[in-house]
């Protein structure tokens, strides 16, 4: 299964799981990155990092290092 940093720009899909059990995961989830939520990868910054995604109807900037922990299902 691909992670959020591996899918192409413009890609839409569903978040399937998040790896890890630390405070970072907790914060990601507080911000709405949760299993079963739809997402869209909107853009990436000029040097490829960070990424801009849409979840829960808003835009969020997330670094690739954190995105690499988010497994997604591409629709």
């Amino acid at each position: 299964m691909p992670t959020l940093d591996q899918v192409p720009i413009g890609c839409k899909g569903i978040i399937s799981s998040i790896r890890g059990e630390d405070a970072t995961v907790q914060r990601l989830m507080e911000m709405g990155i949760i299993e079963g939520e739809p997402f869209e990868l909107v853009a990436s910054a000029p040097m490829g990092d960070p990424l801009e995604i849409k979840v829960q109807g808003y835009r969020l900037s997330i670094r690739k290092s954190e995105a690499a922990r988010v497994f997604v299902q591409v629709s």
Binding site: V42, P46, L60, S61
Partner: protein, 713 residues
């Protein structure tokens, strides 16, 4: 001021909300200017307290910093939780919570509300940005939502003063009719284990706190609470966590999952969203502003305009302030008799106050720009674009603009770090911001490059040296940040997650309020201390004014009309002053840098404000305070010899000129910056640290420059 200090019977509410939901706007509209900033030891966040009266009920509001969640990860965030729960010894527990949520992004905004629901306090939900939600096709049935949640839900548009009366009525009504919020649903096992912990917490406990102790696996909160409440909770908490784990419950994800599921259940029947994907205004603008090529183009265009404004617009204003200062000085000199009082007022106090006020144009212009950029939503995009570069030195994109602003002046630069949420990132940015070459260093560079690195070199050479001088800051600041972030400020920070808000027209009142606040807090807190420091420097340059042979310098200067004689006397006086003596005392320290005592004194005297160095050099090189033109000083410096002895070698050569410039590039010679660091960090430790590390760095770098330079002579 006094009417703000709480009378006994006011109703206290705490205002909670995600960042950018219109919290500040609501607070300001409700309280007017009737508020003050609370002071809590050990934290850097500003917590405002305000008051208003509605239908002869006094309501007191506590403004909690914007946050996405009440799960504390740092002392600053902990303070918010403590204030909400009434655990802070300095504040009573609030009577109710007012949660403000952005209607255009309701689900995520309600996450914080679900936490507020568990505090055991009545909650009122205010929905802002309803206009934006409607514009994007989202319709919310407030009445249905209010019934579903069982609490007042009120649509507001604070800047248009819509919904305010309804909101105030609801607050007043709460005093007599307590409607408790619903409790978000968790699975039965979570509920029972949470109840166990709640049982141990005693009268300060709440469902929310018990839940936090259960879910907060990194232990920060538990540790803090055990100290604060002097309870030993750890075994019970660990036991509950183990019990849940053995049931296959993931403690890290259960909270967010349950809350969002519950929110959906509550909200879905009350909201209608447009079918399919709509391409909104923000999508279209972002396609350009975060574009790899155009996005960077616009970014640099905006930065360039900001800079030009900072230098070009501020320059005449600063000159006016300078002229105003001289006028007042002349006025004072004409009405006051010659003597110590006049000197104290004119050379000490007026210089000090003028030296503070002169920063105002830059603060106003920078904050004008920054708050417009922030309020229209662009600031987050700028941080998005620059994040990669800044991540290389351990910071985030949010540090870029404060650092860049410091090229104009570190004072507004340090103030601009307020946008950085991560405490360590913010501190690292504050500590390195003064390394950026600010505009006050420019006169030193220009003078010494003009005197020693222009004649006999190609036309391009002076420009190159100037560029290299600025380059010192651009290279050292990120390196220092990297060093701090991997040593004293080490630690895993929060992940860099940043909301990219929708674009909107900046509001004039928000922009104005921010400029006003930044200027006022600078003038009030930094101003008094800077002025005091300037007076101190004046004193050590003034005393003793009678030489060991009994000559009274001020009297003798006043007695003679001969300008050359006056200058010679002034030089002798300054040489004999405490500062002058210190300068001569420290000559062995500055000699390895290629400097004599005169340069030492000029450098010492410019510690409160580096821009005074040119003036002090004029004094110690015998030109009097107001050298007619810099050309004269430049020639004197070129011809100066060690100990003023014609047989000695020239005082300055290329290595010693460079060593002086390098010293000024790296040294923290700015009392205003140190005071602002003190103001923003809340302790004397960090300004002291900044001063010591920068001065040490400057000394070593200047030493190396001179000694290595000598090898090439």
């Amino acid at each position: 001021m006094n009417e703000i200090t709480a009378p006994l019977k006011s109703f206290r509410i705490a205002l909670l909300g995600n960042p950018n939901t219109g919290k500040t706007t609501l607070f300001n509209v409700l309280t007017g200017l009737n508020h003050r900033v609370g002071n809590y030891p050990g934290v850097t966040v500003e917590i405002k307290k305000g008051r208003f009266v509605h239908q002869s009920n006094a309501i007191e509001i506590l403004d909690i910093p914007g946050t996405y969640s009440l799960a504390p990860r740092s002392p600053d965030e902990l303070l918010s939780v403590e204030l909400v729960l009434g655990l802070n010894p300095l504040e009573k527990v609030p009577d109710a919570l007012l949660v403000i949520a952005d209607a255009s992004n309701l689900e995520r905004n309600l996450y914080l509300a679900t936490q507020a629901f568990e505090t055991g306090l009545p909650v009122i939900l205010a929905l802002s940005m309803v206009d934006l939600a409607n514009a994007s096709g989202v319709k919310i049935d407030f009445k249905a939502l209010s019934e579903k949640l069982g609490i007042p839900v009120i649509a507001i548009h604070a800047s248009k003063r819509k919904g305010l009366d309804e909101l105030k009525n609801a607050i007043v009504l709460l005093q007599t009719e307590k409607r408790m919020p619903p409790v978000p649903v968790f699975s039965q096992d979570v509920i029972s284990n949470r109840a166990k912990i709640l049982g141990l917490l005693g009268d300060k406990g709440s469902l929310f706190l018990a839940g936090r102790l259960l879910f907060e696996t990194d232990g920060f909160l538990a540790q803090q609470l055990e100290q604060k409440l002097s309870l030993s909770l750890t075994p019970a908490i660990l036991e509950s966590r183990e019990a849940l784990k053995s049931l296959g419950i993931n403690l890290v994800s259960i909270e967010a999952k349950s809350r969002y599921a519950w929110i959906r259940e509550m909200v879905q029947p009350c909201i209608s969203k447009p079918e399919g994907r709509v391409t909104g205004f923000t999508d279209r603008v972002d396609r350009i502003l975060t574009h790899k090529v155009f996005g960077m183009f616009f970014f640099f265009l905006i930065m360039f305009s900001m800079f030009t404004a900072l230098f070009v617009l501020a320059q005449p204003l600063m000159e006016w302030i300078g002229e105003g200062k001289s006028l007042v000085g002349q006025g004072l000199e004409s009405i006051l008799p010659d003597g110590m009082l006049r000197s104290l007022l004119v050379d000490g106090l007026l210089e000090g106050v003028g030296g503070v006020v002169v920063f105002l144009p830059q603060i106003v212009i920078l904050f004008g720009f920054l708050s417009v950029l922030e309020d229209c939503g662009y600031m987050a995009r700028a941080a998005f674009l620059m994040d990669r570069v800044m991540a290389k030195c351990g910071l985030s994109g949010k540090s870029f603009i404060p650092l860049l602003s410091s090229v104009a002046c570190a004072v507004p630069g340090v103030l601009a770090t307020r946008v950085i949420e991560d405490k360590r990132d913010r501190l690292a940015t504050i500590l390195v911001a003064p390394l950026m070459s600010c505009s006050a260093r420019l006169p030193v560079y220009v003078l010494f490059i003009g005197a020693f690195l222009t004649e006999g070199y190609g036309w391009w050479f002076p420009g190159l040296v100037l560029f290299l001088m600025y380059g010192i800051g651009f290279v050292t600041a990120p390196l220092a940040a990297m060093l701090f972030k991997s040593t004293i400020l080490k630690g895993k920070g929060a992940p860099f997650l940043m909301e990219l808000p929708v674009y909107k027209t900046p509001s004039f009142s928000v922009v104005f309020a921010r400029i006003y606040e930044a200027s006022l807090s600078f003038l009030k807190r930094a101003g008094t201390l800077i002025a005091a420091t300037m007076v101190l420097i004046w004193a050590v340059l003034y005393f003793p004014y009678i030489s060991s042979t009994g000559e009274n310098y001020p009297e003798r200067i006043a007695a003679t009309e001969n300008k050359a004689e006056q200058d010679a006397l002034l030089l002798e006086w300054k040489k004999n002053s405490y500062l002058g003596r210190t300068g001569r005392l420290i000559e062995p320290v500055v000699k390895p840098l290629g400097w004599d005592w005169r340069i030492g004194v000029a450098t010492l005297a410019s510690f409160p404000a580096r821009e005074v160095v040119v003036g002090t050099l004029s004094i110690v090189f015998g030109l009097g305070k107001d050298a007619e033109d810099e050309q004269q000083l430049l020639e004197i410096l070129q011809k100066a010899r060690w100990n003023d002895d014609p047989d000695q070698p020239l005082l300055f050569n290329v290595p010693s000129a460079l060593s002086l410039m390098v010293f000024f590039a790296l040294c923290c010679q700015c009392g205003s910056t140190l005071m602002v660091i003190r103001q923003e960090t809340g302790t004397w430790f960090w300004p002291a640290f900044t001063f010591i590390y920068m001065t040490g760095l400057a000394y070593i770098a200047a030493l190396l420059t001179f000694q290595v330079g000598l090898l090439f002579l």
